[in-house]
């Protein structure tokens, strides 16, 4: 019996199940997928994008302010990212800035976490976009550094640029949205987009969110013309800005 290897369907290993579900969104001239983890999947380029990891945030605060938050945030964030990488097997990972909570964090990070990170980086292109929290990343951490980066018609940067022409993917503000229903309110981290620009929610375990109705967003999305995709469990919840309430 001869088998045409090219026609045989690829058998997915079982741990790859379930197939990642993404909410499709066209941005610029590209089609991207929003994932309920807060990550962005760009199938065309096999690229995974995450923003605002704020690794070592608890340690940084313990050092500078003496506030001893649980030291598990770095592990939690890295584990979540590792799971996502497992799910998508991306060819390239882009971290959209504020990956480390402060400039020394990358150098100070405990060896176990560095190893976790290095394992994730194996066999794929890794790009650090620098942000306001991490203008410098220690040389011992692998991966290329860019202030901003354009691939095809998309542009990746940490802070939104006021006169970006189109296809901008950014982070920085940690968008979160709040809706009211039956007398109860729900507040969740969210993607925010107006079709030209997409802002990713913060991915880090100890990163709070800023309500998209806050004034800080008025420069990013003029006249409140935007929609959000609130992160749910296994799905995203789309809302136009007019349905949202402020804090």
């Amino acid at each position: 019996m001869s088998v045409n290897r090219q026609l045989q369907p690829r058998v997915e290993p079982s741990y790859r199940q379930p197939v990642p579900v993404c909410h499709d969104l066209s941005l610029g001239q590209e089609l991207v997928g929003l994932h309920d983890s807060g990550g962005l999947w760009w199938p065309e380029e096999q690229t995974l994008v995450v923003s605002d990891l704020h690794l070592e945030k608890a340690a940084s605060i313990a050092k500078t302010k003496g506030v001893m938050l649980p030291p598990y945030d770095t592990a939690a964030t890295l584990e979540k990212l590792a799971a996502l990488i497992d799910l998508f097997s991306p060819r390239r990972v882009i971290c959209l800035g504020d990956s480390f909570h402060d400039s020394e964090s990358s150098a100070r990070m405990p060896a176990a976490y560095r190893a976790m990170l290095a394992t994730m980086q194996l066999g794929r292109e890794w790009i650090w976009i620098t942000g306001n929290h991490d203008p410098e990343i220690a040389p011992s951490v692998c991966g290329e550094r860019f202030e901003e980066l354009s691939i095809s018609s998309l542009c990746f940067r940490h802070e939104p640029n006021e006169d970006a022409d189109c296809g901008e993917i950014c982070g920085h503000l940690h968008p979160a949205a709040k809706v009211r229903r039956m007398g109860r309110t729900v507040r969740r981290a969210c993607f925010a987009t107006n079709g030209n620009r997409l802002m990713l929610p913060a991915f880090g375990a100890l990163t709070g969110g800023l309500n998209v109705m806050d004034n800080a967003f008025s420069k990013v999305f003029a006249e409140r013309r935007f929609s959000v995709f609130m992160l749910g469990n296994g799905r995203l919840f789309p809302f136009t800005a007019s349905k949202l309430i402020s804090d």
Binding site: A59, K65, M68, R180, T207, G232, F237, S246
Partner: protein
Amino acid sequence: MPDTPHLPAVFTNWFESRNWAPRAHQLELFANVRAGNSALLIAPTGGGKTLAGFLPSLVDLHQRSAADKRKAGAAVSSGSSGLHTLYMSPLKALATDIHRNLEVPIEEMGLSIKLETRSGDTPSHKKQRQKRLPPDILLTTPEQISLLLSDKNAARLFADLQFVILDELHELVTSKRGDLLALALTRLRKLAPNLRCIGLSATIAHPDDLRAYLVEQPLSQQVNLAEIVQAKGGAKPHISILETKERLPWSGHSCIYALPEIYEEIKAHTTTLVFVNTRSQAERLFQELWRINEETLPIALHHGSLDVGQRRKVEAHMAAGQLKAVVCTSSLDLGIDWGDIDLVINVGAPKGASRLAQRIGRANHRMNEASKAILVPSNRFEVLECQAALEASEAGVQDTPPLRQGGLDVLAQHIMCVACAAPFEPEKLYEEVISSQSYRHLEYDLFVKAVEFVATGGYALKAYDRYAKLRPTKEGLYRVSHPQFAQQYRLNSGTILDAATLKVRQVKPRGPNSKRPLGFGGKMLGEIEEWFIEQLAVGDTFVFAGQVLKFEGLKESEAYVSRSASQDPKIPSYQGGKFPLSTYLAEGVRSFASDPHSWSSLPGQVREWLELQKEKSQLPEYERLLVETFPRNDKHYLVCYPFEGRLAHQTLGMLLTRRLERAGLHPLGFVATEYSLALWGLRDLGLAITSGRLRLDELFEEDMLGDDLEAWLSESSLMKRTFRNCAMISGLVERRHPGKEKTGRQITINTDLIYNVLHEHEPDHLLLQATWTDAATGLLDISRLGHFLSRIDKRITHSALSRVSPLAVPVLLEIGKEPIFGSATEELLADAADDLLLEAQL
């Protein structure tokens, strides 16, 4: 009792000048304290309790200054080196009362005693001076004592302290402030060897708890008790339940039906206090009374959320006898002597026998006259509760809760406090801490964990050792590693707060499209719980401070409102200050409902209602749980009658919903009242039970307090709110950074995330332990639910009905008025999002 020493002439003369004689309990307390003992005085309000507490202190100060005068040659007076007496009280209306009980006697007797107050609002220059030149008597709060104890000069300041007077001690010990105070007392006893504690309390169920609280406990099993002095009880109060000609409502809490009758009673008496249970009830009743107040009787409103200025005004008018009635909540519960009150009306359920007794004690402060009180039940179940309370009062039963175990979060705060004053030795501090009754059973291991928590967060992952706030010295003492941390402690401590509140400020109304910024500088109306404001949208109307207000927006920690022309507020209620029905009264209600022989004392309408229940379904038996199922409007209901209070019922409802969900019965929601719980869904719950598909014994099995509870708690917002409180009290998160105020709102975000990370990675962390303990007795009332479940284990009666039973009517009427639980957040979102999708397709 020791021999009664004589009061100095100045004092006896003063009593005579007022045509008074010192009362027996005042002298007995005086004698005990003079003999060098700590003592607890139990007396009803109006028994000259506060003066009794101060008498030993005043006499001692008087004799000291007389001795100083005698050796007039000596240049310096001896009494001015440190504090002589501390006075603490949970009262908000402290100022007025102290003036009457203390300043007036001091002045009239011509004593040269320096008296000062110190609270969070005291200006800092005055606080500084008080440390340098302390007054003889300081009136203050447990938080301020902690702050003073954290001072480097604390030892000098308190070395000569003679007396600590704890007023309304029964109230002080019920909260975390009581824990903080217990720890502060252990410290004060070390610093001031001559210290005697005087506790003043209303009648309570377990006086020995308070006696033990007042004195140092030995390391052995033995319990030390302070002396006890009991004032003779006054005449028994005349309590009656309002006999209404109107129809008694099935449900609700407004008592609007009885309004004209309440008004008539107010007219017929000199001054009436109208007590209600929640602030929203107070607001509502006040409005309704004014609506029918044709004779414009002076009727005022008083509750804890109102602005201090407004409250003071009401109190002043009250003291001057200018008011005919005051509608009030527990903010007026505590021992203020108002003089001429001749009637107390308790509107709604009394909730507890002792609570009712204390409220009734407001009326008629001449101890040997009987107080007069009328209970107004707001629905039929509350008639049963009122009747149970009335019988408890006649039998003189008390149902105050036992002394609480000290909280670990408060312990952490205290450890930092001690460290700020001077380096400490852990073993010694441990022995000091367990010398208080509240922390007696604290294990050494747990204490060590608390120290580690303060130093480095106490995580299993030792990540922060190099940033430790406390470090051991060569001698094995723990010291604060940087002065910055001591400063942080001083800014953050003193935050035993129950809920984040927002100030309510009245501004000019804005048009719907106005771009004009919200005006500021308007009148402050009071404070409101943050969670209530969170539910409001701009433009929503609600009742507060006696008027209908429109929500205009939020800025930092202030909620802006404007006066609304509307008569009907859109958001019906906000339940400030709700507390559950006491276990004792709950038993009373259960016994009434189960025993037809006891119904003769009940009003006809209630009797008929219960008779009807007996006929159509069955009565809930005393030792069993009755579960009814019936269809109604395409839905199937399951109603049960645990009589354990709303909080326990809410928790039960959450857990039953989860179980029914797992059994594939798809519950849609539930609503809880003080007495019963109703769940509903689209599947026939009755059929599932009769066919054996759903077993009630399994549904109500106690093991729901295990995994189900755990699973629910991990996502419960109540748990996160409790955690936030513990995190702030323990000093994990800062309330304020030097120079910048962090609002409660920002903290919410952070502590929720912290909770998630901690719950996942170190579920047995000290702070989660503290949170769990709080939740068990607080918002979730798990301990009570546990007792209930074991009581009714395998004792469940099912009554399958074809229609709603008479007893189930009240809880079904609450649907739509009370928040409905059960639909998960995800479904809410999906629901809202689907709406949007539908819209988009149109």
